[in-house]
């Protein structure tokens, strides 16, 4: 994460902040007035029924979609209009709902791609000067790669070491030279997280990390996420359907329905919120159980 972001985070600005963010695809209001604040050490959840706009929110935060209204700030810096890779360099990493690993590359190489891509030394300076400096830095790197200079070789060794460490953390060392597509499902999920950590993020966005896992694997995942947050001093935001998992590890939950934020707060408080139950379990459940529990 670059020096500038460290400086602003040091001064207490939240790692990731979205306020009043809305997105419209033509007539469809995918997300309206979405706000969120993540500080270091937070472990927040983002839940909502299918099609509530959870993934859309994720995509806005990571720069895949541009918000029609409102602002997204990473480490205090406004990132509206930035490309996803620029936002990533500011310290925001993500995983994907349906796994998007580099299938033909080995597990090690998957992580090394993320580690290496931190080439941009001045991500916050997105003006023409910044771009020129980045381009120059990049061309110099290419020259070092082509001439196989000693400095380049040490950099490569360093990258491999970092990647191996991350694989170890995620318990994938035995899959080091295995192609990503050949890994079993659970391990592919963990490799995606390892890859995300490779970009040395400050905030980690997990898009349904427990999808397709059995209960025991989910329990292990809960422990792992909390451990990652502590070991890497991260802010973590998790999208998840599984109420038990979310309620288990998240200290703060935001609930979305049809693009609107219908509830926000601690797990216990959100669980009993009328609107949440109605959104999740539909009105019939409410009548049969006579209003709020």
């Amino acid at each position: 994460m670059s020096a500038a972001v460290q400086a602003s985070v040091g001064s207490g600005a939240p790692l990731l902040q979205a306020d009043g963010v809305s997105i419209q695809f033509g007539g469809l209001k995918a997300l309206t007035d979405f706000s969120l604040t993540i500080r270091q050490g937070d472990l927040q959840g983002l839940i909502g029924p299918n099609g509530a706009g959870k993934s859309t929110a994720f995509n806005v935060l990571t720069g895949v979609y541009q918000p029609t209204r409102g602002e997204v700030r990473v480490g205090g810096l406004r990132v509206n209009g930035l490309k996803p890779h620029q936002i990533n360099h500011l310290g925001l990493a993500r995983t994907f709902q349906n796994i998007r690993l580099f299938r033909a590359l080995t597990a090690l190489d998957n992580v090394k791609v993320a580690c290496r891509a931190q080439g941009a030394l001045h991500p916050h300076d997105t003006g023409f000067g910044g771009k020129a400096k980045n381009a120059l830095a990049n061309y110099r790197d290419w020259w070092r790669a082509l001439l196989l200079t000693p400095r380049f070789q040490t950099e490569e060794r360093e990258l491999t070491r970092q990647a191996e460490h991350l694989l170890e953390v995620m318990g994938l060392s035995h899959r080091r030279d295995e192609e990503a597509r050949n890994l079993p499902y659970g391990e592919q999920r963990r490799l995606e997280i390892a890859r995300a950590l490779g970009t040395k993020p400050k905030v980690l966005l997990l898009d349904e990390p427990a999808a397709g896992m059995n209960t025991r694997e989910k329990a292990d995942l809960m422990v792992l996420i909390r451990k990652l947050r502590d070991d890497f001093q991260l802010g973590v935001l998790v999208i998840e359907h599984d109420m038990k998992l979310v309620m288990g590890i998240c200290e703060h939950i935001t609930v979305l329905d049809h693009g609107e934020t219908i509830a926000r707060g601690a797990p216990a408080q959100v669980r009993s919120d009328r609107k949440v139950i109605e959104a999740y379990l539909g009105d019939s459940y409410l009548e049969s159980h006579g209003g709020a529990a």
């Binding site: 090690l108 090394k112 891509a117 941009a120 790669a145 491999t160 970009t199």
Partner: protein, 355 residues
Amino acid sequence: MMETPALPVPEARSPIPASLRGIFPVLVALPVLALFQWLLSESPFAVYLLSVMGVNIILAVSLNIVNGMTGQFSIGHAGFMAVGAYISGVLSLNLKEVALSFLPVAASDQVLFTVALLVGGLAAAACGFLVGLPSLRLRGDYLAIVTLGFGEIIRVVVQNTDAFGRALGLSGIPQYSSPYMVYFWVFLVVLVARRIAGSSHGRSLWAIREDEVAAEAMGVDTTGYKVRSFVISSFFAGIAGGLFAHFVPIINPGSFTFVKSMEIVVMVVLGGLGSTTGAIVAAIFLTLLPEGLRSLFNALGTEGTLAQKVDQIRMPIYGLMLVALMLSRPQGLFGMREIWDVLPRWIPRRRRGLS
């Protein structure tokens, strides 16, 4: 399980000291090339054929960087080759009378030839940048048609400017090229392709090929990398064009049509998308095949009308052969792997991981 693609990591201790590792391959190559040149000097046909083969290898390996490693789809490579050929050709024509005072004439010719080559290559690289930048917002087939369009525009420009000899073409370009020069550049392009593939930049290109959205999310500046792969690939296409212009007696627009671009794409796909050695083997095979067919038919006797029509039959056979190859081995000769991954076990191979 499939063998992993050879993206070796140069971290294992290799006998050569780190500082020397960079230029060691070049030191080895120079004497080998000199021997190669001496062996060939008395047979002009071998010289010509191997020069054509060398140019095709450079074109295939350089296009492989864009079509193979980065997964983009360019069918305008002959356009960049034309830029290199004509720019270096015109430069050499004008420098024909000039020689460097401190060098013997032969040596100064080679120096000026190299300068002309580099200028041609840089011009092609600039065109690569021009074509690369705007069209990289486009996906697959649209990018293909823009590169195809670029190739056709270059052909029309050349056909209508007197300086480039219009339809007749540019002749009288000094024939400085020699197998030594051609294969020095073949060596360079293969070295560059291998070093890119083995480096983190290469991994970023592979990432773009595998899943561009994920690569962007993981911090890879996909547009920047695609433009760079375009620039490097078109630079070497320009060099190939320059070499071509200096051993073919005359260059005219007919040599750089979109059919030529397609032939290069065929070499890359035949060799296996992403495999540098695959591109080399395919380029060698597709250059020698027409001559082989000729020798075969000549052996069948020269009198009969079949012998007269023999050369006409080559092209349809070439077409049908492509179809057969694609049906039998769609992933190409080596798939994404290099030759040393595909060789059978009993051939001793270097320990894994050593670049």
